[in-house]
């Protein structure tokens, strides 16, 4: 029996065997969409390349009882993938465009009764990045702890979108990140706010301060996770590449990452949500540690020449019976500069190494930008041939 995309992806997520290998992708980058596909929508792209669709959405709502409202300074988000920011009279965000010869550069200032916090973001055609971290002095975290707003899920909006999406595929969101340029994982959010190298050094120099910061960020995320009760999400993302072992050590993962994110996963389960834990980098030394946090799925299983360390077959053998695995495909070498036959062989290899017994969703190991469209088509088509008989 042929399954719908939704049934197929859900079967794999629940560790079961679908009709064939589910195949999808991580976020579709606007650069790719605009350069190669004349701005097609996510849905059109999934359909055109035979991929099982994902609908990303993260609608949030303010809590007027706490004096919160939508940030009036934020332009309307261009995609449901981006949330609206929540402001209050004690957490006001203003922006200022700074001159720069190459990049759009914006300074954000958060004004609170006890002082201002600032951060600078730059962007080019591909993406955005932080050039000035928000947390500069240790005491800045007290301001955050006292005044930060707490986004909650707009459950009704998620459910409307889920109804409309129907059997097309999965509805996916992520745990709320910090304002302006946040990330889902607690440690990952802290890394963006402090800068990853400084954060690593502080784990040695002032671990109590790092825990205090993580606790503040985690509490805010927990409020968001509790608000997910009743939302018809299929999957929510947590984690981030700064928790991978190409960046930190298993020791730091165990002390500073797992305790906080495991707590969020537990609460997510209490309110009936599934979590995918994202580590786009080294995972092999901490596979069991991640699985022990009990996420429903793990991604991205990045291969060595994309900056990760995954040996897919070994990963499947070590944790494949505990979680669904998503990713593993080398988007750099098999979406550009190779033959269709090589791309197809790479799909088959992933299927052989991780597909056995189900519980595996084929996907590029995170983002891609430049793509030979024939190879993307071969990627989708070959996955259709990977059937479970």
């Amino acid at each position: 029996m042929t399954m719908t995309s939704r049934q197929r992806l859900l079967a794999a997520l629940q560790g079961q065997i679908p009709d064939r290998l589910p195949v999808t992708t991580h976020h579709i980058q606007d650069y790719f969409r605009n350069k190669y596909l004349e701005g097609l929508s996510d849905r059109e792209i999934f359909d055109r390349f035979g991929l099982d669709a994902i609908h990303w959405t993260v609608p949030c709502r303010p809590d007027p009882a706490n004096g919160e409202y939508f940030d009036p300074s934020q332009p309307e988000p261009t995609s449901p993938r981006f949330s609206r920011r929540i402001a209050s009279d004690q957490w006001r965000i203003t922006t200022e465009t700074l001159p720069h010869p190459r990049y759009a550069t914006i300074r954000y200032t958060i004004t609170t009764p006890k002082g201002e916090l600032t951060t600078v973001l730059q962007s080019n055609d591909y993406t955005s990045w932080v050039t000035e971290h928000l947390i500069k002095e240790k005491k800045d975290i007290e301001i955050i702890g006292e005044f930060v707003t707490n986004p909650k899920c707009d459950v009704e909006q998620v459910n409307r979108e889920a109804q409309a999406f129907g059997e097309c595929g999965l509805v996916r969101g992520h745990i709320c990140g910090f304002d302006i340029y946040g990330q889902p994982g607690t440690w990952q959010d802290a890394a963006v706010l402090v800068g990853i190298e400084r954060l690593i050094l502080e784990t040695f120099d002032d671990p109590a301060w790092v825990h205090e910061l993580l606790e503040i960020l985690c509490r805010r995320k927990e409020i968001f996770v509790r608000s997910l009760a009743g939302a018809q999400y299929d999957l929510l993302e947590l984690g981030g590449g700064d928790a991978s072992t190409t960046v930190i050590s298993p020791k730091i993962f165990r002390k500073f990452v797992a305790p906080y994110d495991a707590r969020l996963i537990e609460v997510a389960h209490e309110v009936g949500q599934r979590i995918v834990y994202h580590t786009c980098g080294g995972m092999m030394p901490i596979l069991e540690d991640i699985a022990a946090m009990k996420p429903d799925a793990m991604e991205t299983f990045t291969p060595p020449d994309m900056g990760g360390d995954t040996r897919l077959a070994e990963a499947k053998q070590r944790i494949g019976d505990k979680v669904c695995m998503i990713g593993g495909f080398n988007q750099h070498h098999h979406f550009t500069g190779c033959s269709e036959a090589e791309t197809r062989a790479a799909v088959q290899r992933c299927f052989v190494e991780a597909g056995g017994g189900g519980g595996y969703i084929l996907s590029p190991s995170d983002h891609f930008f430049d793509v030979d469209l024939n190879l993307l088509a071969a990627f989708g088509d070959e996955a259709h041939r990977c059937v479970y008989s």
């Binding site: 080019n124 990045w129 430049d370």
Partner: protein, 213 residues
């Protein structure tokens, strides 16, 4: 235990205070600064590189080891200068234009510095002109340029930088090594770089091999 062993172990443990104290003790006890550098600090960083390659150490251990090594080096530097010991090789390092990833590049800087090279770190998002200006402006000759790129979209900046260095007429004066997660030895060949290393400790081996040839 002798001073050099203490220094070696202090670096391995990333213990900045211990390394500073032991380096000072060694200096006070009359051990030559060159020996402290070579047999204490550099040997320790070499071991750190090996432990990293073997998967025993991760980035955090390297960062604190480097910090400890630098604390020791700060004590030695004035002594080395007054003894007229010049660092052998000057390296200009940077992450190419459009790319903000610098953890890998910083580790390469750490290991090269730990191996006795002098580093001019240009930071991230470095335009080709900035690399060229650095080579032209450094009073002492630059022997080696190290370029880092982490994004598939900035691989092209590696090639652009190489081309610009060539067009500026500097190519024969410097060796160029490249690295970063999506970079391969084949790619280095393809764009005409002199060398490639998959990690920071092998960057030292490659740099040394290139400069002795």
């Amino acid at each position: 235990m002798n001073h050099l062993d203490d220094i070696f172990n202090g670096v391995l443990d990333g213990d900045l205070t211990a390394v500073s104290a032991h380096v000072q003790e060694a200096v006070d006890a009359g051990v030559s600064p060159v020996r402290i550098l070579q047999e204490g600090l550099i040997e320790a960083m070499d071991e750190v590189g090996t432990l990293f390659e073997e998967g025993e150490y991760f980035v955090p251990e390297m960062l604190i080891a480097a910090r400890a090594m630098k604390a020791g080096l700060a004590i030695l530097k004035p002594l080395l200068v007054s003894a007229n010991v010049e660092p052998a090789v000057k390296v200009v390092l940077g992450t190419v234009q459009g790319d903000m990833h610098d953890i890998g590049k910083n580790l390469v800087a750490i290991m090269l510095e730990g191996a006795g090279f002098e580093i001019v770190d240009l930071g991230t998002d470095v335009a080709p002109e900035t690399f060229i200006a650095a080579v032209e402006n450094e009073q002492k000759n630059v022997d080696l340029i190290g370029l880092s790129a982490l994004l598939t979209t900035t691989l092209a900046s590696l090639e652009d930088t190489l081309l610009a260095i060539e067009q500026a007429g500097l190519r024969s004066r410097v060796k160029i090594i490249i690295g970063g997660a999506p970079v391969t030895a084949e790619y280095a060949d393809q764009i005409g770089a002199d060398g490639f290393a998959p990690d920071a400790s092998q960057a030292v081996t490659v740099a040394k091999a290139l400069l002795t040839n």
